[in-house]
């Protein structure tokens, strides 16, 4: 996983566009509705899932998220999906669809379905984060009545995430330069982890002291307020209706039938 990619993903959230201006709560809820609609299909569903691609594509285009970035992120999530899905064609061999003499087994159908679901869910998550940023999502969770302590935790975690990852990167490089090999033994790893942990605990002490002199009382206050506009309602209603409509009407088959017999 690349650190550069991870930090670049979030930076698109500060671009100014229709999508980025939406209330983060609306975007979080819409993404959840979308994912629920996608995973609620039967395990052999393939073609009715395709129209759902419109949602991430539309948001990516309107929100200026590059498709290359999305593709790289999706590639990261792929191995686990493939690992589990690949058993389906091996175990479920009954013929399900026949097209022009080509017999497709149920296993291949459900495998394709798992792949498509993965594509849809992962890209929906990526466009959410790429147009919203982690701090805004933390605020949205606060706005949705999640415990404050979790919101503060997310904000602090995200603030120090890249600091600590940079530090670890430097430690790793230093070890490789001295040891001459990229493979770390358990002893090496333990030593590095301990050093890193002690530094982290010391750092938190320093952070706590400097926050305390600035009046820290267990709460981080954001200068930005969440505002629910009419456009947020419209967005949420549109996405929900779209998902329910596509869930109940397999427009792909209808379209195909219409093309074949106009």
């Amino acid at each position: 996983m690349s650190l550069v990619d991870a930090s670049r993903l979030d930076r698109h959230a500060y671009v100014d566009s229709v999508i980025q201006r939406l209330d983060p709560r609306a975007k979080v809820l819409a993404t959840l509705v979308f994912i629920l609609a996608v995973v609620s299909f039967d395990k052999y569903t393939v073609s009715p899932l395709l129209p759902f691609l419109a949602f991430p594509v539309l948001i990516a285009v309107l929100g200026f998220v590059p498709f290359g970035l999305i593709a790289r992120r999706f590639a990261l999530a792929l191995p686990f999906i493939l690992l589990i899905g690949v058993f389906n064609p091996l175990l479920d061999r009954a013929v399900m669809v026949e097209v022009g003499g080509l017999q497709v087994s149920g296993g291949w159908m459900s495998f394709t379905s798992i792949f498509l679901r993965g594509l849809l869910c992962v890209t929906a998550g990526i466009v959410l984060i790429a147009t919203t940023s982690v701090p805004r999502i933390a605020e949205a969770l606060g706005g949705l009545r999640f415990p404050r302590v979790l919101v503060v935790q997310l904000l602090l975690l995200y603030r120090y995430l890249f600091v600590l990852m940079d530090e670890t990167g430097r430690m790793r490089r230093a070890r490789v330069l001295r040891a001459g090999t990229t493979k770390a033994s358990i002893r090496d790893a333990t030593g590095m982890l301990t050093t890193l942990l002690l530094r982290t605990v010391d750092r938190s002490e320093a952070i706590w002291r400097s926050m305390l002199v600035r009046g820290f009382d267990g709460e981080l206050r954001s200068p930005r307020r969440l505002h629910w506009h009419f456009s947020d309602t419209v967005f949420l209603v549109l996405v929900t209706t779209g998902c329910v409509f596509l869930r109940m009407n397999p427009i792909t088959t209808r379209l195909g039938g219409w093309i074949l017999n106009p």
Partner: protein, 363 residues
Amino acid sequence: MHMADALLSPAVGVGFLAASGGVLAYSAKRVQDEGDDRKIPLMGVLGAFVFAAQMINFTIPGTGSSGHIGGGMLLAMLLGPYAAFIAMTSVLIVQALIFADGGILALGTNIWNLGFYPCVLGWWIYRMIVGKNPAYGRLSIAAMLGILVAVEMGAFSVALQTVLSGKSELPLGEFSALMLGIHFPIALVEGFVTLSVVNFVYRIRPRVVRDSLGIGPAFEQDEPSYKPLLGIVLISTLIIGGVVAWFASSLPDGLEWSLHKMLGPGEIAQPADEQGGRLARLQEKTAPLPGYDIAGASPEAEGVQERAGNDEAPAVWPHVSRGKSLSGIVGSLAVLACVCFSALLLVWLRNRQPQNSQREPLE
């Protein structure tokens, strides 16, 4: 191992979101009641530490592969179970969002597998063994046992959630045996690394380790009660144990069938609530590959041999016709073409607009 959205059914996803949400609400209350300001930045930075720690890979002896620590148990040993659970929840949220590990609906299952088991169950085992006098030997045994149980429970949970969701053909018995087997050496090494780190930290900063056990100076007057925790562990053990026992007594891939028998068909067929039934009926009428429903067939007809037989296929899917499959494929291609074309059109329209504001992120 992170659970993915693609392998979940809505019922399992939402169920575990609710379970993890419950533990989260309880943990948040406990941490807020503690009112220890100092702990809040420690939680935040240790959450970031888990990410950093997962960057440090080590070779697993005998296998040639490499692994990293999960970190949940380490957090629990430094922060106590409730603060550790919240920290782990935030780690998993950021992993799902930024690093595409797991997914948004799968968050509930991942928080349960990688947060609840190590932070609550693992910590509880650790606390029981360590007692009030954390000596090095006891600390080591406690950490090792806690991690072994937590990692194996997490691995088993992934198998259970996948099979319960019914998207994968893998039978629970084989799948969980595979998962438990793969995770055992990983758990051993993680346990060893974690206990070495904790022992070292205990030697240098004993307060950090003692505080989380509830035996530091701040806790001396107020011994925390373990009854609610015991309740949670008991209930989850009963549920999981019950599932395993009743699964073992049925056919290897008869899990859905057993669920039907226990809950009645109505309860499982409700993943999308009231809509579920209507949606299913509507879909059955119009879908190109209509409800080939495992649960509908008798469990004996589930056997791979039976299903592999071509002559049986028409009986199982009476609705499949070549015409419908063909229109499904043509429609799919048309939809893909539509999506691609409109995306290109939109990109073109978007780029034609005057660039009066900052559109590209600062490099």
